[in-house]
Symmetry: C2
Subunit: 459 residues, 2 copies
């Protein structure tokens, strides 16, 4: 939890720096709110038992509850930067090593409201990059694409309307499967014409940076398709903004990125860890087992997001007048903190983690002196110093030192009968192993608090 | 959420000052874990639908999951100060005005482990008092009693074994019902002998401070009952420790406090707001409607807790060897933050609450200057200054000022074509309404960050 709290604190700081405010949504929603939002993954939704009253389900992500919240608040919340760090629930087979659990945290930042094209999108991507950088998870890249370019591309290649979604989902696998496997899924499983698949194959090879926008615009087929053209021009604008925000070096425009969720309408992106050579997955090949590849890719993807302009409107068409006609465009990011956490956990030296915040341990030599130790703790608490003592009338000195070491408590106040008589205390810097400091140094009792405060500042 | 976050921060600070570490338990537990722990309130437990797999329920409080956690960790976690701020779930009729909801936060602090008698109990009560004081909720008292004294008292009065629990629950109502009503419930509803009830009535009148311990010990009946005697002697010790911790003025020893939950075994306590005269409930009378009285008492009680030495052992008798024979005594507190929140919300001046953390708003006069505003924001973010700009290519100046005012953003950076040419920026302290400051003061562009940092420090 110490590592987890630090992680949340780091992310929250970035979210707040960009004007985010947090809202809290309930852990369960009406069942109907979640229905039909997650494609075939809907089977992973947890339902509450029908004990009378409304039928409810545990939230599956933080995006749908946020859109429901915006729709309910109608015209009063047309613009908002919101963040939320909270748990979501999936009826999945847990796999701890992959960071996959039934209950896990998501960290979301979303910008809701009608604004000039691509400005909030650029800030959302920048927030994602700043947060991942602050977390020190290692090198990463942001793959980026646009739903309108994908739609245009599929139309140009001749994908029938009813096959766009399944073909899109096959394309999305091209980071973990070889082209032969992706093509096979398109043609054999999903019945796409082989020539159409090959044309898609040519497009999704395209990757690059800012310059890719211009070369795509020079492609006659794409620039004659209004959807693709709009998408490319948006990307051009986005790249200009991302350049100003100083994050271009992290961005990779990648026409094979297709992101699964149904509700994306504009730019889509995914942050992928760049694994060091020695632990990078083997180069794509149809020989490697599919499962193994999937596992490796899973660990690679650590954040994602995109624009979803129609989700709020889906709830807003409800019965209440207040809710009608609300259409709030949104763009957002979601950081997969469980994966980030498992990386940070591996980096951490467990023995060095201090899980509690105690600064001073109050102990006695001989005689117990319970009430005197309690009185000193009381004084320290009242000066906002975190302090503990052993809950024993007559504790052994060694046990008290052990407790102090175990919890990495930096300072000790030590009292004995003699110190009490002389109106003194001993203070020991636990990190100082020099012999003259062994039993602590002597201070006047009324200098105790100020001495401790000075020493704490210098730690 | 701004008020709520501040509240949690205040409470967390106190918990950490006393060495608390936080743990996270899942929002749902196996159904069997919760069964039989909450008496007749068990009907309020939310169950998950049986979709295959384990039968689960949403947690009803944080105490039972903590005890389950301790039992599962077996001998590796014999001592622990844990805090947890998390939501719990009850299938109740919501009543927002009373702070009663189906999903709500609890803030718990518990001390687990075998220690010398009453030392951790004294610290737990002190933590509760420090937290409530830090929250500035108003004057409060801690009513305190001991399960062993109650058990002894019921035995002395002649309450049959099988009636102790229902009679105890009737006694617990004596803060909201008149004695006549409590007596009626005991005798008419619960079939207690009238003379026995009257004897109980004499005992539960007893209230006081530290001195009550001595006078109870002088009572021959009580001091001849081993359970009562042990309880009173523990209370005597507790009072000595509470005196050292400087909190005696908050404590009221009250033999009528009986706390509902089944799992308490030792000291029990409840923090009650002392309402100012004008909004205090009318003095007890059988005329006032019962519901009205209950509502008022509900608002009064803001925290509670007690010692539960046998709860961990109930889970520890499970199948796994690791878990067997684990018996960890615990004492804890739970702060009813929804009630505290509704009090703080009433005190707050809503128009003065700043919900986001933005420090600087970057705006332009005429010409839009979108990319220049973005570049300035980027510079501020990289210096850890929270900044925003309007997501519009050509925003009106007045709209930018309005946004700045609405979000209580203290500083504005204002640029125009002339400032850009001169390599200058204007900085405006939004709180300074003097006319010479109206359009902001001019600074060199390369002094912008340091000037803003200085101004932010002085706010």
């Amino acid at each position: 939890m110490a590592i987890r709290e630090k992680m949340f604190e780091t992310i929250t700081k970035v979210f707040k720096k960009h004007g985010g405010v947090t809202i809290d949504t309930p852990v369960f929603e009406l069942k109907d709110i979640l229905a039909g939002k997650y494609g075939e993954d809907s089977k992973l939704i947890y339902d509450l038992e029908d004990q009378g009253g409304e039928k409810c389900s545990l939230r599956y992500d933080l995006t749908v509850p946020f859109a429901r919240y915006l729709a309910m608040n109608g015209t009063s919340t047309q613009q908002m930067k919101r963040y939320q760090i909270a748990k979501v629930y999936r009826r999945d087979q847990p796999a701890m090593t992959k960071g996959r659990m039934r209950e896990f945290y998501q960290c979301d930042f979303d910008i809701a409201g009608s604004y000039d094209n691509m400005i909030p999108d650029a800030e959302a991507i920048t927030v994602m990059i700043e947060a991942l950088t602050a977390l020190s998870v290692g090198d990463f890249k942001i793959k980026i694409n646009h739903r309108q370019i994908l739609d245009g591309m599929f139309a140009i290649c001749g994908v029938p309307e009813d096959k766009i979604r399944p073909i899109s989902s096959a394309v999305d696998k091209s980071d973990k499967l070889s082209w032969e496997e992706v093509r096979k899924e398109m043609v054999e499983e999903k019945g796409l014409d082989g020539a159409v698949a090959d044309k898609i194959g040519e497009y999704i090879k395209l990757k690059g940076g800012q310059e890719l926008c211009s070369s795509l615009l020079e492609n006659a087929e794409l620039s004659n398709n209004s959807s693709a053209k709009e998408g490319i021009e948006s990307m051009k604008l986005l790249f200009e903004y991302l350049e100003i925000f100083g994050v271009l070096d992290k961005i990779s425009f990648d026409l094979s990125l297709a992101r699964g969720l149904d509700y994306y309408t504009g730019v889509i992106y995914e942050a992928v860890l760049e694994l060091p050579e020695e632990i990078a997955p083997p180069s794509k090949s149809s020989k490697g087992s599919k499962e193994q590849d999937e596992e490796q890719t899973r660990i690679g993807s650590i954040a994602a997001g995109g624009r979803y302009d129609n989700l709020v409107g889906m709830f807003a068409s409800g019965s209440s007048k207040k809710e009608s006609n609300v259409k709030i465009p949104c763009v957002g990011i979601s950081i997969g903190v469980e994966r980030v956490f498992s990386i940070l956990l591996k980096q951490a030296k467990m023995e060095e983690i201090k899980s509690n915040a105690v600064q001073v341990y109050v102990m006695s030599v001989r005689d117990g002196l319970l009430k005197e130790r309690m009185a000193i703790c009381k004084e320290l608490w009242s000066h906002d110093i975190a302090a503990e003592f052993m809950y024993k009338a007559k504790p052994k000195l060694q046990n008290q030192f052990n407790a102090c070491d175990r919890d990495h408590i930096p300072l000790a106040v030590i009292i004995g009968e003699q110190e009490l008589l002389d109106n003194k205390v001993k203070i020991k810097n636990m990190g100082d192993k020099s012999s003259e400091q062994a039993g602590g140094l002597l201070y006047d009792r009324d200098q105790m608090v100020s001495t401790l405060k000075t020493m704490l500042k210098m730690l």
